[in-house]
Amino acid sequence: MSDAKDLIAARVAQEIKHGMLVNLGIGLPSLVAGFVPESLGVFFQAENGVIGLGARPPEGMQDRHLTDAGGGFVTAVPGAASIDSAMSFGLIRGGHLDMTVLGGLQVDALGRLANWKVPGKMVPGMGGAMDLVTGAARVIVAMQHAAKGQSKIVMACTLPLTSTRRVDLIVTDLAVIEPSDAGLTLRERAPGISVAEILAATEAPLILPEDIPEMRL
């Protein structure tokens, strides 16, 4: 893996199964698509209105009517469908979206995500994040384990929650962590990273099973 972001994206990609409908957030999560083999028959949804998001278009072939949720030019795959915003969020809220992958600012010991606001500093708005976290069948947070030396996996979110729904998996540059009723369980280590290093970088308590293998990438 060339860098931490690619590592995270490649590991998240392993969660995607045949025929799923998947929404990838802007930024780091959008890298996941590059690690999903075409043979899986996965459809990517962009919440601005397309099912079957494709790669970037060739230079000179951009269509101003076909962009992703970040406003960047994209293509669509054969079998794609255009949808309006009501249908787009109906699919999301109604549980028809099999998986969403979002970035995070914090995840707490209960597995709850905060990713839309830093009071007094940054008010970007929640966009589609609250509906995605509330409605998607499976929610995966893809983020750096720490920012500016601070753990992003915290006892209790100090930032406003995106949803009270517990996310299903957290994938960072150090670890794969699975929230459940029991708490946060450390499932996998990044290559070359020890359990002790992960514990040292994590504010929230982690449950440690007997076997905590390295990610297989």
Partner: protein
């Protein structure tokens, strides 16, 4: 349908202080000629209901930069630093609404429903001050319907009776907002004769559209 107007004629219909729903997602599917005419005319003190404010120099971003916006009801302003700065400075008041809630509130306003019962936002800041209703044992937020004095819609084709269709991700909020404006002004890329848009390809029936802007090449 009451005929095709030049952008400056359409802008003259809109008084300062009006509430506008404006279609588009990061400027894609936004009626740019209509917005340019509002900026030229300097129609200010506007309430804008939209997904986002695009970026400076594009779509709703032009209204923001021109200082014409007083209040925003949007899901996202993160990609327009100028909007962020004006909101933080208090020059623009801003209600942030989850995107799926926003589109349903507009639909409810346009379709005569009393609001939206959604799980989105429960237990978060979005819940503050809102009614919670329990249905079949589960709690839901009551989100109120939205309407506006005008809906400004971008479309691909319009026919002479106002039927509209849209291209790819330029649908977004446009077909929903067309239901919820007291007056609906549509800006198509092209106006085609009746019969060129088959009934099954119509996404917004012409009965919803009050005015068309002349085609982009008229």
């Amino acid at each position: 349908m009451k005929g095709a107007l030049k952008p400056h004629e359409a802008a003259a219909l809109i008084a300062p202080g009006a509430s506008l729903m404006i279609g588009g997602f990061m400027g894609v599917g936004t009626p740019e000629r209509m917005i340019d005419a509002l900026v030229t005319r300097g129609v200010g003190d506007l309430t804008v209901i939209a997904n986002d404010t695009a970026m400076p120099g594009r779509g709703i971003g032009k209204l923001v930069s021109a200082g014409l916006v007083r209040h925003l009801i949007v899901s996202h302003i993160g990609l327009n630093p100028e909007t962020q700065a004006r909101v933080i400075a208090g020059d623009i008041t801003c209600e942030l609404v989850p995107q799926g809630t926003l589109v349903e509130r507009i639909r409810a306003g346009g379709m005569g429903l009393g609001g939206v019962l959604t799980p989105t936002g429960l237990g978060t800041e979005v819940q503050d001050g809102k009614q919670v209703v329990t249905v079949e044992g589960r709690p839901f937020l009551v989100e109120t319907p939205l309407k506006a004095d005008f809906a400004l819609i971008a479309a691909w084709q319009a026919d002479y009776v106002g039927n509209l269709n849209y291209l790819l991700t330029a649908h977004n909020f446009n077909p929903i907002m067309a239901l919820a404006g007291a007056r609906v002004i549509a800006e198509p890329d092209a106006i085609v004769p009746v019969g060129m848009i088959p009934p099954d390809a119509v996404k917004t029936p012409g009965v919803l559209v009050d005015h068309l802007l002349t085609g982009a090449f008229a």
